[in-house]
């Protein structure tokens, strides 16, 4: 069997590249470790010395102000030095190869790379070429994975629902192109969620997803009936341009999360969204701001979860 490149010889986390293939213990340890970091964010001094003296490089080959900012806050609250590199605007445009960029940054004594790239697998490539002692965190690669987003979603679900083993979770929207959905499906399965549903138009939620162990629904009303968790995905405008959807209005009519549709879920069901959200396209404003929405707690927990991941990678 090929060893999981994210784990060292003792099974400890060395890089966080993908949720797929991670043992349940590793996921649970990240969620458990995040809990004390939530309490750090509630103090007057929101800083602990866990990564003091370490350098974290945020390498964003694809724009993302929000994810980059949450990683930056997390690293700073761990007392690391954070260097933000917007690669689009620098070396790549001068023709330097990805691995040359990494070698150069490694020579600047980097301890951790947080990588966002439009190409699936780019963080894997980097992780397999960095020297011992440098960790890589995937902050989203192509359509492949967004592991820290899925982990913060799991933390949020556990916070409100306590356990995973009796839940029904519906993931709604552009599942096909979503690295968030892919990571969520892996995480929910590993943590023992018995029923994972995916729903959206056929062009965005093909039947082939059933092979991932999820139930594929075409009608929103059926998919939401009796669920404990509704996880919304962002609808990217490119999908309309590519002919996969007629219009945002059409989409909202069939798959928008309205108060009326949410009423089909359990009365205590929670609503997640990874942001940035399009009100009136995938979610009704009154739902986004309603009592069942946990979208803002997700953001707060996201910092704690990223602190946990970076601590585990940084000091073991």
């Amino acid at each position: 069997m090929v060893r999981n490149p994210q784990l060292d010889a003792h099974g400890a986390l060395r890089h966080l590249l993908s949720i797929e293939g991670l043992p349940r213990d590793v996921l649970v340890n990240i969620l458990d470790t995040a809990r004390p970091f939530v309490s750090v964010t509630e103090r007057e001094v929101k800083k602990v010395p866990v990564l003091r003296g370490k350098s974290v490089f945020n390498l964003f080959f694809e724009n993302s102000t929000r994810t980059r900012t949450t990683f930056e806050i997390a690293a700073k609250r761990l007392s690391a030095d954070v260097i933000n590199l917007n690669i689009n605007a620098s070396s790549a445009s001068k023709g330097e190869s990805l691995l040359d960029t990494i070698s150069n940054l490694s020579a600047m004594d980097a301890d951790m790379f947080v990588v966002r790239h439009s190409q699936s697998g780019a963080p894997f490539l980097i992780a397999s070429n960095v020297r011992e002692g440098i960790s890589v965190v995937n902050a989203g690669d192509g359509r492949h994975q967004h592991p820290t987003q899925a982990l913060l979603d799991m933390y949020t679900i556990r916070h409100y629902k306590q356990s995973f083993t009796d839940l029904t979770v519906a993931i709604v929207g552009d599942v096909l192109h979503s690295r968030v959905a892919r990571s969520q499906i892996h995480a929910l399965s590993i943590l023992g969620v018995p029923e994972i549903r995916v729903v959206g138009p056929k062009t965005l939620v093909p039947d082939a997803f059933a092979r991932m162990g999820v139930r594929v629904f075409k009608r929103m009303e059926e998919a939401l009936r009796g669920v404990d968790v509704v996880s919304m995905l962002r609808l990217q405008n490119e999908r309309m341009d590519g002919g996969l959807l007629p219009s945002a209005q059409e989409y909202y009519k069939s798959y928008g999360l309205t108060a009326e549709r949410l009423a089909l879920a359990k009365p205590d069901a929670i609503v997640l969204h990874p942001g940035p959200m399009n009100r009136g396209v995938e979610i009704e404003s009154s739902v986004a701001d309603g009592s069942q929405s946990v979208i803002l707690p997700q953001v707060t927990f996201g910092i704690a979860v990223r602190m946990a991941v970076m601590s585990i990678l940084g000091v073991g």
């Binding site: 458990d32 470790t33 004390p36 970091f37 309490s39 750090v40 103090r43 007057e44 001094v45 073991g316």
Partner: protein
């Protein structure tokens, strides 16, 4: 380190019961602690168990706080994060508080340093005093207990561990030190 004359020295082969040492602490604290003002904080795990008893017996008005020093330890680089760290819970205003920190066994003083750093992240206390069940000596830092159950002299390579069973009975045990690294106590 020589025992301060104020607190008794006990033989590791004949350790008093943990609850006897708790009683000894209560006797010292009753005359010096103001139950209306004293903000007690136990250090996980053993210190919390002791603090729960002291808090109850002294009838303190402010709720009990608990601290996990995991994020302020000075050996993270070599030993890594402990699994199952707990969140510190400080349910009172630290700024201006009269804090009584509680731990089970005082040894190198490093845990107390970490606990004080953690407390200062919440605010600037008026005063911090330390109550410990046992002081086994071997300090690496200039830390001393204000209140102490007893001193105990241990041979190198031995450690004292406080355990709690399902009936909430506290048990002190002297045993060979586990693991290669310096204990953080």
């Amino acid at each position: 380190m020589s025992a301060s004359p104020a607190f008794p020295m006990v033989d590791p082969a004949a350790l008093p019961a943990a609850d006897t040492l708790v009683e000894a602490l209560v006797a010292q604290l009753r005359t010096t602690v103001d139950p209306a003002r004293c903000a007690m904080v136990g250090i996980h795990s053993g210190g919390v168990w002791i603090a729960e008893r002291l808090h109850r017996m002294l009838g303190l008005a402010l709720p009990l706080g608990t601290i996990d020093v995991g994020l302020h330890r000075d050996d993270l680089e070599t030993s890594g994060l402990r699994i199952r760290m707990r969140a510190s819970m400080i349910p009172f205003e630290v700024a201006g508080a009269d804090i009584l920190l509680v731990d089970d066994v005082l040894h190198t003083g490093r845990t107390i340093r970490a606990a004080m750093n953690e407390l200062f992240d919440y605010g600037r206390p008026d005063r911090i005093r330390l109550a410990a069940l046992l002081d086994r000596g071997g300090r690496h830092l200039p830390v001393a207990a204000t209140f102490l159950g007893a001193h105990v002299a241990l041979e190198a390579g031995r450690e004292i561990v406080l355990e709690r069973d399902a009936q909430d009975t506290l048990l002190l045990e002297v045993r060979a030190r586990s693991g290669p690294r310096e204990p953080a106590a």
